[in-house]
Symmetry: C2
Subunit: 663 residues, 2 copies
């Protein structure tokens, strides 16, 4: 788990080098930087913005279009009452401690984790062992305390490691106990921070001119989807199961957001709420399509035993053995895996980790996170939770809205039961103002009580019933105003609250992890500095094609423009670079931007219209006429062919352009 | 101006009927409706969400891709300091009055407008004239006071009409005077509301756990773009002019947002910041492409004279005559017009209105709104403002960041001027600790002063200079420690702050107006109720194709699935409707959803693979094999062909399917 992050080619990944490229090429940049910046807020520049749009586009095709999900766009502003009902006002919080001396605010779990890891490292140093550094752990960047090289008892080392393996399972009071038990102190002041208190992570505001309607920025898109459940079911012509989906910004007022794109306060989410009948084992009709997909899983029990061993297993077997609770949950876990592979995530750096009991959100009954390995360790990028009927039930109870499915039963349900009929004409005058109370008491009787009452009625001609607040607490009803019989009732409609399986994607975290997974450095023969490359798959790459003229010759200009326009009409984003830099330099710049393909226009192009097409990763080239080259680009961008396919189809080209120019 | 809104076919537009369809078909729905809703917040259901995505997609192609704009994604959360500098904290406000009796909060301009219009209607009623009703004016829905039928003097009528024509030009104090002058009273209480006070329209929150960083939800995306100006210029390899663009949510805490999608508190914006050299008349290299585009304009002077007469004029002429200030502003106005036509806006319901001086935002020096006519009157949907160098200048002044362009001059600028050289070795010891102060005083002298000093120096061998705080306020400098000469200086670099032309689109308002412009009702021969149709162009329609089987025959099922999958792979959204409703009913449903095309699969399809394709608007059909039908759909959706083209190419089909089914 604590091995170091590597590049696409297995080189040690230097986060500093990568971050330098990402900022220089404007993939992302701290927001409001000329004002000193604000923690946890980042802007995407053109390549980051385009990469994000392409990831979202693949997501939409892979999930929404593939399964006819109902996409909605709901508001970020959410009134207090909704999030009170959903439990977020009371429970959506992190535990924070305060240093009483300097006022430092610390996230309790990150603080405990940082100090214990520092002590473990200090122990290794004292024993002369190699320390495997995580280069930048988002959870503890600021607190990265260098503990002294102090040797620990073996038993203590084991204890610390077990605490760390289940760190996400501790609540505030337990974290407070750990701080006291191990005497954990803020390295900056040398004193113990205060007892952890809950800090709600929602941004608050007020809606309207009179400031009396409290509201929040939503912490997830889910609630807006749940509240529209009844309308969406109707829109879906009452067919079950179905899913809604929403792509939009959500907000969390993180306590210490100092870690680039991995822990931010404003982020793009893509969430699916799949509604399923809780009866019948939550089967999924397309589960057979994915059952052989192999996944790396880290289950709850392993973590609770203080370990982090994973197992590789087919999702079909995981569901069958009960490791993953049901087919629908399993189906989405497999679909998440396939999506990740499609956008270029390195599958050797992906695992699914099950939440431990105390770690789960207040609404979930089971949850698997898709985690990606980065320089920040294993990062939760997608949560796949079974929210059961929690949300629909609490909103229905609060508002009285029927958030249920009503289905005609194929075979009517026949129920035999004791039923009470009241002869209103006699019953009313008998009890006058108490009639309703007595009637309610009768309705509230159980089947067992009714059976006894029926016997009493037939044997004595009347019943005696305890009714609090009426007469002396007991009333008598004679058989002329009541009948109790064992009869059949037929129910043609079934009513149930669906369960919700929720795959929830943090697009920014996926985007950042993808940048790390696609990064590598190209060595140069001449001993120059290694050059960075971002090997995005053509489907998600920000720009697909770089067009360069061999030289600044005027003859090339109209050809550049026509080609660029033709590619654009075909839906292929491209850039012309006719600057005075060498072709080599221009390709280097585009390696850093992750542009997968390059076209050179040279004198032969002017003569016969043929173009060379260059592959970023191998730097090999092919040459063919414009139609064939565009056809090749299209199939690469759509993900239907690989560069190896293209090389097999089109004639190889081994030109000398770069040298010609740099002479 | 006050004529009533009509449908696409010129029928009177019944907003109630349209709204009923839009809500029933889930184009949009009030957010949090089961909790009673929150004013000004709406969710888009699947068709609204898809329509919005398609409009944004056309926008991105029409503007960003067409002109290689730099798209960015910046944060909504914005710290106080940024919006203080930009002027929004002090000036981004509406004027509101309070009714002292019942506490009603009224937007001052809307209140004045509503009461005066009510009186004008009362006058018409008293004179027995027809009252042209705006069916629902978003500006005054709540306050729609029915004034009594009281006849007004002709002069008073004229005065009221003049006030209304320039209502947007009044500030708070002036609105207060109008309320007193005309004794305007809240119809609900019969008393005059209080003096107007400014109400800031930004939602406030605080960022971080210690609650000490005040922030707002951005009221526009522009500021995030301006703050990245220097980085974007560098990304653009220092080339000018260029534009950045941002599509994202913005927020305004409207005082009275009761008007469906036209005045909401959370909305999607698409904004362009085009940076242009302020020198050379703000020319645009592609202006010639649009110069003959004819537009309907309502200029500033016409409005100030109390009229609303428009003129139709070519944009080339408008720029030439100075009516529109410059080519770049004119270019974007024309491009906005072309965009609106492309998505299906009725050009007879579109005009460009120039802002009056007091109406303009605090940052703008000229502004033209693209207004669309709806049941709510003329609605501002796009603002096209010349923000000059306002924003870049204030942010640069506040932060010291160089938000400027540095350009190598093609021809170096030669400046002849009086220059002062100081002989430091003598000058320093002469003034000791005051040397820097005296030097600064010398540097601060004007050219005129220097000329005089030079004369004094050559004539007397020394100069006398007033320097506050040094000696007795006067110092003498002899010619051995100073030289003053008239010399040439060569400047190779030019530095300037670019001006910004900003087209700013409210996507929600455009979307709503489009729904009105595309709406009409289809009469039925049999005297049934008229049926609603939303004739969206195929390019923006939420779903492109409805696929229906002729009957529930099992033979059709695999064909439906294969066809749907093939269309999806081609990027054409489609829905199968194999419900038990008649084909006629299924088409009716899809008329309301705005689905432009329908495919029927019948027994002939099973035999020979041919399909029928039906056009929503004409209800005529053609029949051909699958390849030809898909080719036809593709060209319709891409906007390359019209239905008339398809009818001319493919054999007409006049089948009897509907009758067969309904028999």
């Amino acid at each position: 788990m604590t091995s170091s992050a590597t590049t696409l080619k297995g080189q040690p990944l230097d986060k500093g080098v990568l971050d330098n490229i990402l900022r220089r090429r404007l993939f992302y940049t701290p927001s409001f930087e000329i004002y000193g910046g604000v923690g946890g807020l980042y802007d995407y520049g053109p390549p980051g913005c385009s990469l994000q749009a392409n990831i979202v586009d693949v997501w939409r095709k892979h999930f929404i279009l593939e399964e006819d999900m109902l996409e909605v766009d709901t508001t970020v502003l959410t009134p207090h009452e909704v999030l009170k009902t959903s439990g977020h006002v009371d429970k959506f919080a992190d535990w924070m401690c305060k240093d009483p001396k300097n006022g430092d605010i610390l996230r309790a779990d990150h603080f405990v984790e940082a100090i214990l890891e520092a002590r473990l490292n200090g122990n290794k140093e004292a024993r002369g062992l190699k320390i495997e550094e995580k280069e930048e752990d988002p959870k503890k960047k600021k607190r990265k305390a260098k503990a002294e090289a102090v040797k620990l008892e073996d038993a203590v080392v084991q204890e610390y490691e077990e605490v760390l393996a289940k760190i996400d399972n501790y609540g505030g009071p337990e974290l407070g106990e750990l701080i006291k038990k191990y005497d954990l102190r803020n390295p900056l002041t040398g004193i113990q921070p205060s007892e952890p208190v809950a800090f709600n992570l929602m941004f608050q505001t007020s809606i309207g001119p009179s400031s009396n309607l409290a509201g929040f920025l939503r912490p997830e898109t889910a609630q807006g989807q749940f509240l529209n459940f009844a309308k969406l079911l109707e829109f879906n012509q009452s067919q079950m199961p179905f899913a809604s989906a929403c792509i939009g910004k959500s907000y969390r007022n993180e306590i210490s957001p100092r870690a680039g794109l991995l822990r931010v306060r404003e982020f793009l989410m893509a969430e699916i709420e799949h509604y399923v009948d809780p009866e019948g084992g939550k089967k999924h009709t397309r589960f057979h399509e994915v059952k052989d997909v192999e996944l790396v899983l880290l289950d709850r029990d392993t973590q609770l035993s203080g370990k982090t061993d994973t197992k590789k297993i087919k999702i079909g077997e995981a569901v069958e053995s009960g490791l993953v609770d049901n087919e629908t949950l399993g189906y989405f876990i497999a679909r998440i895996y396939l999506f990740m592979r499609r956008i270029g995530i390195d599958e050797s750096k992906m695992r699914f980790r099950q939440h431990m009991a105390n770690e789960m959100a207040h609404y979930a009954c089971d949850c698997w996170d898709c985690e990606l390995f980065t320089t920040g360790g294993w990062i939760e990028c997608v949560g796949c939770a079974d929210r059961s009927a929690y949300d629909l039930t609490v909103h229905a109870n609060k508002t009285g809205a029927p958030l249920v499915v009503r289905e005609r039963r194929e075979e009517p349900l026949v129920i035999e039961e004791w039923q009470i009929d009241i002869e209103k004409k006699k019953f009313g005058p008998l009890f006058k103002k108490d009639a309703k109370t007595v009637e309610a008491a009768l309705e509230a009787t159980s089947q067992e009580q009714r059976e006894k009452l029926a016997k009493e009625l037939s044997e004595t001609g009347k019943i005696t019933l305890e009714v609090a607040g009426v007469a002396d607490g007991k009333v008598q009803v004679a058989k002329d105003s009541i009948t109790i019989e064992f009869r059949k009732r037929v129910e043609n409609t079934r009513e149930y609250t669906p369960n919700v399986i929720e795959p929830s994607f943090g697009i920014g975290r996926i985007l950042y992890s993808l940048m790390e997974h696609c990064f590598w450095t190209r060595g140069t023969d001449g001993g120059d500095e290694a050059r960075g490359v971002l090997s995005f798959p053509p489907t998600v790459a920000p720009t697909k094609v770089l067009i360069v003229p061999l030289s600044s010759n005027e003859k090339f200009k109209p050809l550049l423009k026509t080609l660029s326009q033709r590619l654009r009409t075909t839906g292929i984003s491209n850039r012309i670079d006719d600057s005075s830099a060498t072709i080599g330099k221009r390709y280097s710049r585009n390696d850093e931007l992750g542009t997968p393909l390059g076209i050179t226009i040279d004198f032969q192009t002017v003569q016969d219209g043929t173009l060379t097409l260059r592959d970023r990763d191998s730097t090999t080239q092919v040459r063919a006429d414009e139609d064939k080259i565009i056809e090749a680009i299209k199939s690469l961008v759509e993900g239907n062919k690989t560069w190896a396919d293209i090389e097999a189809e089109l004639p190889k080209f081994e030109g000398q352009e770069v040298e010609v120019v740099s002479r």
